[in-house]
Symmetry: C2
Subunit: 495 residues, 2 copies
Amino acid sequence: LDLDGRGALFEQLARALKRAILDGRLLANGRLPSTRFLAMRLGVSRNTVLGAYELLCAEQLAVAVPGSGTRVTATTRPPAKIPTKVLVSSKARAPSRYAARARRLGPGTLARAGRDLRYNLQYGEPLMSAPLFQAWRRKLAAAALSAGPGYPRPGGYLPLRAVICDYLARRRGVTCAEEDVLIVGGTQQAFTLAARVLLDEGDAVVLEDPHYEMALGTLRAHGARIVSTRVDAQGLVVHELPPRGPRLICVTPSHQFPSGEVMSFARRVELLDYAARQDSWILEDDYDSEFRYEGRPLPALRSLDLADRVIYVGSFSKTLFPSLRLAYMVCPAAIREDLFRAKRLDDLGSPAIDQAALAAFLRGRRFEKHLLKSISELRRRRQTLLEGLNGHIGTSIKIAGAAAGMHVVAWLRRLDYAGLSRLIAMAAERDLGLHPIHPYYRTPPLCPGLLLGFAGLPIAQLEKATALLSQCLTEVESTWPLSPQILALRANLGM
Amino acid sequence: LDLDGRGALFEQLARALKRAILDGRLLANGRLPSTRFLAMRLGVSRNTVLGAYELLCAEQLAVAVPGSGTRVTATTRPPAKIPTKVLVSSKARAPSRYAARARRLGPGTLARAGRDLRYNLQYGEPLMSAPLFQAWRRKLAAAALSAGPGYPRPGGYLPLRAVICDYLARRRGVTCAEEDVLIVGGTQQAFTLAARVLLDEGDAVVLEDPHYEMALGTLRAHGARIVSTRVDAQGLVVHELPPRGPRLICVTPSHQFPSGEVMSFARRVELLDYAARQDSWILEDDYDSEFRYEGRPLPALRSLDLADRVIYVGSFSKTLFPSLRLAYMVCPAAIREDLFRAKRLDDLGSPAIDQAALAAFLRGRRFEKHLLKSISELRRRRQTLLEGLNGHIGTSIKIAGAAAGMHVVAWLRRLDYAGLSRLIAMAAERDLGLHPIHPYYRTPPLCPGLLLGFAGLPIAQLEKATALLSQCLTEVESTWPLSPQILALRANLGM
């Protein structure tokens, strides 16, 4: 018996016995040696042999016969004329090009540094609401009855699609029909389906710089050639788009992720014009447009889109909670069937009960009430954050992207990247989780910045967090002051 | 104003006005003509104009000012120096090669002919159980609390993965660790992820002939070169596999879909040996192994797999209900990280609450009780079906695949394909839904057959259904008898 050295001894022994059964050395119906005898012969404990026999019985290769030990089962006759030696290991061929590209992506910044810290200003943490959860539980239990047990419609539960149309028309000025709405498993699946339907390996895709890294991930894995395009205070810099149109342009016009800028009306029109002339598709990721604190919302790209080239994506990860994993795509007519087909081929459709619960939730007044409450709670948290940093804003901190959403960007005008590292390390020692913004950039910005998520912490904790941040900032700035030359350079550049 | 002729008149008018706003003919803050005036000028009803204005307001391009009509909103300044004419339509470029292949797939037999018929012997209809649903509702409501609102772990909810390991060890003799188990959105997503990770365009994949067509669909769309391999009474005919190993071999050893045959032990060993020698991966789709009526179960391929080349896929669509959309993959070590990564990139993970509910459900005694009840109910239904056809079995019907699962195959020994069509049409007229098996074959079998799903109909309806089937069969056989030559040929071939 050859032991292969992998795992516990009893597992090795079981595998060795299995090999002997499979290649016919131990015959069907034959008795296995007694545990006592085998243990002695192999110089192992009897428990090891007992464990191995138990494993063989569990795998239906052996059966314990009371009073007469363990026998090889009758079904395990090795085939007569074919080679029966099963290799224990074999070098696996390289995976697909997709898998190879995915391997190169790296772990990603969403890997959640600082998740164990008490005051974690992590973006993406949801606004917790116990009453919302209670309401959701009731809807779920009720929805199990209305959704039914059968295969769901691949494109999504029809009443949900209808209520989303109504919601979009009322709140986002996007008019569409039920048959244009495809229910998907989160914004991430929307990116994946768009990649599948629109991209061949090597096709160009424009991503904003900075951008949401998981979108980059699935596009890269699909073989897209990424063209990063700069974002300024007006949003995507359209006149810097490539002269030959890319297949797809991914944008976050209502609250650029993560810079927080809002795309101006002029840029919207300019982008639509570019896409129509260049035969490019636009994916409009409207991920947190529901939460707006200043100014009036601008019309969505999709509602200005006379050429029907915008795939509009909305999500419930921000308005309800991320564990829900439901989002929707409003599909242009020319590729609607392709997107629906890709969803059907990928997973036959999203879970029906969740969809039915969501439909009931959106239909009732509960959702809009929840939105109103969320907005006012988020506004309070945002205010707490900004007030807590007040002593630094305008001097050592420049705030951006505060008009909407669940995060703001704090540009650290008086620190360099070494200072940023010190700040983050010092904060972590004091139980404060800080997250830099530069990993979201293709080319790191001149001035370091923090992405401050304020949705996940209640007011009292936010007060503590901002006090800690102020403290650390003051200490780092006074211990490692920036040179006057760099300060002057930044001032010149408007930082 | 140019109306484009698409959709309702008020929508056309709204689009025309939108174009005028976007290209600057109607200026920001400018007043729109009064509805009365515009209606008169265009020769349309005033309601049409009112509708168009309402749409513009909904899309935030216009605003109604009480007492002074409707104005173009202030934000809608067209950009100064860029072309502003947005094209109304543009010829879309061809979609990706993936989308093009998906377009060629056709609608598929699962498109559910006969779904409106009263007695539909459709495979895939779940076994309905009101108490199960009640229990599921309670678990769902409770699970909302334990799962939490945050992003789920992409590989799946850990307690669910642990309970699946335990379940597999006890019931299927498959031993694995939590970290090998990937939770996916149904068996369909398992096929998709395997395709993504293992296949480049043009790579060979072995599918059983006959096979599950949605597996074929996603593999084809991914560009796989499909190698169909025959199934006989021992399962996949391994010695007919191609001399150069394919990348992937998809099999249903415990109950071949749809022929219902069980892969013999010898073939299992032979297949594992082939895969190890040829450097191929095996996807073992164990879709309904829980329901077995005759004989002892054979060990799963995965539990015989010493070379770690089997991706084992189990589903809850059959044991619970299809709308759940949850399945799991047991991943070989060499490609585990690749499969996990592909799931994360595709949709960030399956819904957490559903997973938590499932974990709780599987952990309790409720699930095994449900399984026992399901098996005995399915056994009764199967028995009703077989007894109802008793007068024909052995003469005009040969039953196959009745040892397990939720369907049997009825080979129609005395009909040709024209007779089959007549039988299906006659049955449909009498409210009986029959489903032929040959669409699942690459090369239609010599003798026509029916795929009879018995899970979806209660006993009384099954009795009625079989009586109708017997009646129709007798009538068709007596009106269009098969020629003695063909009967002799079939007898020679053992049909």
